[in-house]
């Protein structure tokens, strides 16, 4: 599934948060959106999902403008994980996963046999199959984050947008969750666009990276070519050293005084 942005501008109230962004996200790859706080990453994802109106330009999914795709059929093609998710009291993990099939479901009908298989696979992928009967509020932070990811997987869409999926997770979970996300692209051919903050995590798992700053794209391309000293300095306004250690790209920023 190919997602293209053509001259997209999005404003939040009076502030223009995304300015004239054009980019073509590679099909079947894991692309990380990286940039300083408030640079428009989350706004861009929300606008892509039609949750915020675009001021100008359009997003195209396989050549078709996203704004002409109905909500339900968009949900069958694109799944989205917001940054903050709310766990309703007393809702179990199983119930949460079942909700993901809303766009495929028919009125007054339960999930089909194939849906049930999808739910099961999603829970198995995140390693929570034996927890399905548990209320969400009794899960640990890491389990809960994996529960949300399972819900996104169970939506069975080809394009997955995630807003900081490793927030609030310890490093072990950060690595295991992103490993899982990367596997989705490599084994199941999903296209993943994911807002991340950590350049080292990005370098370890993403195929491509889009560096954003002040609502625009600073640099974009394959990870090794894009995460360079020059680009990091331009994007974050800080010095960094970037080197190769055992085949892995490491970005070591130097502490600077906060300006402005």
């Amino acid at each position: 599934m190919v997602l293209e942005l053509c001259n997209v501008s999005v404003s939040y109230g009076k502030n223009l948060c995304v300015r004239d962004v054009s980019h073509r996200f590679s099909d079947g790859r894991f692309t990380a959106l990286v940039g300083p706080n408030g640079c428009g990453k989350s706004t861009l994802l929300r606008a892509l999902m039609g949750l915020l109106p675009m001021q100008q330009g359009e997003a195209r999914l396989d050549q078709r403008p996203v704004s002409t795709i109905g909500r339900r059929s968009l949900a069958r093609r694109v799944a989205y994980l917001p940054q903050d998710n709310h766990c309703p009291d007393y809702m179990t993990l199983g119930e949460l996963i079942e909700l993901s099939s809303f766009s495929r479901s028919r009125l007054m009908r339960g999930p089909s046999a194939s849906d049930r298989q999808i739910f099961r696979d999603a829970l198995e992928t995140v390693g929570l199959l034996d927890m399905a009967h548990r209320p969400l509020n009794t899960l640990s932070g890491g389990q809960r984050q994996r529960a949300w990811i399972a819900m996104v997987l169970a939506q069975d869409a080809d394009l997955i947008l995630m807003d900081e999926p490793v927030n609030h997770l310890d490093i072990a979970y950060q690595y295991s969750v992103l490993n899982l996300v990367a596997r989705l692209t490599r084994q199941k051919g999903k296209t993943v666009i994911c807002v991340l903050h950590d350049l080292n995590l990005t370098a370890s798992f993403a195929d491509e990276v889009v560096l954003m700053r002040d609502g625009g794209i600073e640099a974009a391309g394959p990870v090794r070519e894009t995460i360079t000293v020059g680009n990091v300095t331009k994007t974050f306004g800080m010095e960094a050293e970037i080197f190769d250690r055992n085949g892995r790209l490491v970005c070591l920023p130097y502490p600077t005084e906060l300006t402005a």
Binding site: R46, M49, G50, L51, R71, R72, L74, A75, R76, V78, A79, Y80, P82, D84, N85, H86, C87, P88, D89, Y90, M91, T92, L93, G94, E95, L96, I97, E98, L99, S100, F102, S103, S105, L107, M108, R116, F119, R120, L123, A132, H133, N137, Q155
Partner: protein, 349 residues
């Protein structure tokens, strides 16, 4: 695949418990009173009405209409409470805290001040329609105030709760002012100041029950979308729910359901606030089963409150609304404690 069965079993058990409780409350409500009616007489009267027996007469013309009104009121308020709490994702939302009750009271009192005939017994249905309009007016006013206060930036509905409280206080103030200006007729209007379940209102029930049935049907159809809205507007929208449309329809329909109950017997508060909290631990979070269960529990609770109102100070009868307010006040403290003051509080804000 066994991930859903535990939930289903719990839902079935919860619904059975609710139905059992409702039947028990109905039996008690019909049997107990100034005059004890034995269960066998009760069954006999239901089976075949004998106009020569006082008990049969009492049942068919007083207790059964009264019980039906209690059931309708409890069920509608509870339904509306479940939906409003799910929509706002806030445990303090209910028809009463949204200004429905205060709006209905004000319009009836105002109507009676302008047109004294409104309160005469032959105008029962006109009273009901005025109350229905008032209930919707109260909720719309609360929503407008909340919107002016920036509800859009406030996903947990706190501005709506505050706006509802503000509107309710303002409208009750105006109501009190009208009542004070006309001391002679104050006692006539007291039934509208606090909800009063009485068999003479059966005509209004006969006029309005269909509103409730339609509202419940629509809400059940929307229940799956409402489940997703529980997860937040962004999540629901990206899963395929038309959030603005579903929210508006569900809000309007639940306000109508609650207002139709107020139109039958005046403002009975707190059922809408309390019942969802009783039902959720029994039935879980899914809105569909929760609606059915809350209907049963709300009806049962209202029957018990009505019984208490009749029995507590015999031979005097309290207004059911007063009993509800007393019970509800205590429960309100418990809800605040559980959601805002306990260790779980951090998850809400």
């Amino acid at each position: 695949m066994n991930y859903g069965e535990g939930v289903l079993r719990r839902q079935r058990l919860g619904l059975m418990l609710g139905a059992g409780g409702l039947l028990l409350a109905l039996g008690l409500n019909l049997s107990l009173g100034a005059r004890w009616i034995a269960p066998d007489t009760l069954v006999g009267a239901l089976y075949e009405f004998d106009p020569d027996q006082l008990d049969h007469f009492l049942l068919w013309f007083q207790r059964i209409p009264r019980a039906l009104i209690a059931i309708y009121t409890g069920a509608m308020m509870a339904c509306a409470g479940v939906v409003l709490q799910s929509l706002m994702r806030n445990p303090l939302t209910s028809p009463a805290t949204l200004g429905v009750n205060a709006g209905a009271t004000l319009l009836v009192v105002l109507g009676a001040a302008l047109w004294p005939q409104l309160l005469s017994p032959e105008n029962l249905v006109a009273q009901g329609i005025t109350a229905l309009a008032g209930g919707v007016f109260g909720a719309v006013l609360a929503l407008t105030v909340a919107r002016l206060a920036g509800m859009a930036q406030d996903p947990r509905g706190f501005s709506l709760i505050l706006a509802g409280a503000l509107v309710a206080m303002l409208l009750s103030g105006v109501t009190q002012a009208i009542l004070l200006s006309d001391p002679q007729r104050r006692s006539d209007l007291l039934g509208w100041a606090s909800g009063n379940i009485n068999h003479v209102y059966a005509d209004r029930l006969a006029a309005f029950w269909w509103i409730g049935v339609i509202c419940c049907g629509v809400l059940l159809l929307l229940s799956r979308s409402l489940n997703l809205i529980l997860l937040g507007a962004d999540k629901a929208s990206s899963t395929g729910v038309n959030v603005p449309l579903v929210s508006r329809v569900a809000m309007l329909v639940s306000v109508f359901a609650a207002a139709s109950a107020v139109a039958v017997c005046g403002p009975v508060g707190f059922i809408g606030l309390v019942v969802p909290h009783i039902a959720r631990p029994l039935l879980g979070a899914a809105v569909g089963p929760l609606l059915l269960g809350s209907t049963l529990i709300g009806a049962g609770l209202c029957l018990m409150a009505d019984l208490t109102a009749r029995m507590a100070f015999q031979p005097y009868t309290l207004h059911t609304g007063v009993v509800m307010d007393l019970l509800g006040g205590l429960f309100f403290v418990a809800i605040i404690r559980q959601h805002y003051l306990s260790g779980r509080a951090g998850r809400l804000t």
